[in-house]
């Protein structure tokens, strides 16, 4: 079990800008929850395979065929910013 969860690091990984008060509060909450989760260590699971998903063996795949989808207009209709028919984002390369 980790001594201390680095909330700043985790928030960065999650693309969340947190206030100092949030860092404090969520840090305490996470520590409590992770301490509770530590009870899983009581179980010896060395020989138990993980379950990622309950029915992977039965999942069907559809044929790879092009079908009509959303129109271009519908696809961008809800975007906060649109330029030249595309999703507009702030600059991310110099």
């Amino acid at each position: 079990m980790p001594a201390r969860i680095d909330v700043h690091h985790v928030a960065k990984l999650a693309s969340l800008t947190l206030t100092d008060a949030e860092v404090q509060r969520f840090g305490e909450d996470l520590q409590t929850i992770v301490a509770y989760v530590a009870q899983l260590d009581e179980l010896d699971t060395a020989d138990v395979p993980p379950t990622a998903h309950v029915q992977l063996d039965r999942l069907p795949l559809r044929d790879d065929v092009v079908k009509p989808g959303l129109s271009h207009e519908d696809a961008v209709a809800q975007a906060p910013a649109v330029e030249a028919g595309g999703f507009a984002v702030p600059k991310f390369v110099e």
Binding site: D29, L30, P80, F87, V89, P90, K91
Partner: protein, 480 residues
């Protein structure tokens, strides 16, 4: 007692009543009751009346009507509805209007149902009390100082107050069964993969399942039969035949073996809830069921395993809310990473942030094996518990929730206490097996108590037979 799903559909099909009349009555009732209950976030007055007119038009032209002809349906706001706002209870999606219908909505419309509105929910289905809705909680019609449960609390409150005879919710760890229990309604979580999730805003993809609620078992079964069945747009949707769920409600339960797990009747269970549930099991025994003890030894580890797995999946699923393609954007200094961070900080509520952080942590380098992989292994143990128990019994009966409806505010500041209120519903979710909640009486204070019935994978039919038998003694009551 307001008419249920089947009464309405048959009356509309035979022309005894017009769909427009049923819809207008439902909308009037919503208008009168919703301000006190906050069950609906959006009421679709005009669209509902248009849909009802279309149903009446079909009948006037002599066309055959579908199995939900003119039936008002309330839809959890996590399910995409073309042209109707869909927020998942979050500020980050305030004002979002999907350009397409979820598969279940297409199927409801094809069955001639009438969508009357979008119901309140915990933000992104994360919560057990509705208090995590960014728009304020729904309230329990039995006592408006109390929660209707969560996360599908708005759908449950709407059905309990007879604002609609049926609704759709989604159940990831109990989000339909627990609200059904707390509001005295029927809530069915089908087998994982039974109902396609195309158009459901994802929370935890290996667990999420769209689930109907209704005022009676047959009505819920009919809604399930409409929405179930393979959809090529959801790769987790099972390509298996849809059973006649309604006919299953008439099956005899004589000789069925009911397992009662001791782990579900221990510490933390409200005494009155335990008594009501035991009385319902005794009733089923008197009806000819064979009752025997079973053991599900890993039950007490389910909460810990669930909160690792569900938050891990949520942290990944909710990465899509980034202020680019839809929803809120906060852009303080025109820099991409800062825009992501500011948008997500402003758009998500506290519980969603908490779960994204927890999920990100358990997936992060150095902790993956200790938490995520460990929880996946424990999930296998929980599945094996059910597999072993179902070698000896046909269904498993237990309380749905350890307590009746609690007061709003009672657990709001203690995330772990809130998580533990899902202790009886999470194991069936982890195992992917079907489970439902049916009323089994009330506490001395008049609060509903729910019986959970769990069955083998794809054996909703046997579960529904037991539920229908139970309903004879414990029908859904109407709140005062």
């Amino acid at each position: 007692m307001k008419p249920g799903v089947i009464d309405i559909a048959e009356s509309v099909r035979t022309g005894r009543v017009a769909a427009t009349q049923v819809t207008a009555q439902a909308l009037e009732r919503i208008e009168a009751r919703n301000p006190g209950l906050h069950a609906f976030l959006h009421v679709a007055d005009a669209e509902a009346m248009a849909q009802a007119r279309a149903v009446d038009g079909k009948r006037a032209r002599g066309e055959a009507l579908g199995p939900l002809a003119g039936v008002p349906v309330a839809i959890k706001d996590a399910i995409c509805t073309r042209g109707l706002p869909t927020t998942a209870g979050s500020k980050i999606l305030a004002g979002y209007v999907p350009p397409y219908d979820a598969t279940v909505i297409e199927r409801l419309r094809a069955a001639d149902a009438v969508v009357v509105g979008k119901t309140n929910m915990d933000e992104f289905a994360m919560g057990s009390s509705n208090e995590n809705s960014a728009f304020g909680p729904a309230r329990n019609p039995w006592d408006t100082a109390r929660t209707p449960g969560g996360s599908s609390g708005g759908s449950a409150a709407a059905v309990a107050a007879r604002l609609a005879p049926c609704a759709l919710g989604s159940d990831t760890g109990g989000s339909v069964r627990q609200p059904a229990s707390l509001t005295g309604t029927i809530g069915i979580k089908p087998t994982y993969g039974r109902v396609p999730r195309y158009g459901l805003i994802a929370f935890a993809s290996s667990l999420d399942q769209i689930s109907p609620l209704a005022t009676d078992v047959r009505g819920a079964a009919r809604v399930l039969s409409v929405i179930a069945g393979h959809d090529p747009r959801d790769s987790t949707s099972l390509d298996v035949p849809v059973d006649d769920f309604e006919a299953a409600c008439g099956r005899s339960v004589k000789g069925l073996r009911i397992g009662v797990p001791e782990e579900y009747f221990g510490e933390g269970l409200d005494e009155e809830v335990g008594t009501r549930v035991q009385a319902a099991i005794a009733y089923l025994k008197a009806e000819g069921c064979v009752v025997r003890p079973v053991t599900l030894p890993h039950t007490r580890f389910a909460v810990a395993a669930y909160y690792v797995l569900a938050t891990a999946e949520a942290s990944s699923n909710l990465a899509r809310f980034d202020g680019v393609r839809y929803g809120l954007r906060i852009d303080p200094d025109s820099e991409l990473r800062a825009m992501y961070g500011a948008t997500r900080d402003a758009g998500f509520g506290a519980e969603v942030k908490r779960r994204i952080l927890l999920g990100t942590f358990v997936l992060s380098a150095g902790y993956y094996d200790a938490y995520y992989l460990k929880a996946q292994r424990v999930r296998t143990l929980v599945r094996r518990d059910f597999e072993a128990a179902f070698r000896d019994v046909d269904v498993i009966c237990s309380p749905t929730s350890p307590t009746p409806a609690f007061r709003l505010g009672e657990k709001a500041d203690d995330p772990l206490a809130m998580y533990l209120s899902d202790v009886y519903t999470l194991p069936a979710s982890l195992a992917g097996v079907p489970a439902m909640s049916v009323p089994c009486g009330a506490t001395a204070a008049g609060l509903p108590v729910g019986l959970q019935i769990v069955a083998r994978p794809l054996d909703e039919a046997t579960m529904l037979a037991v539920a229908a038998a139970c309903e004879v003694a414990f029908p859904c009551a109407s709140p005062p």
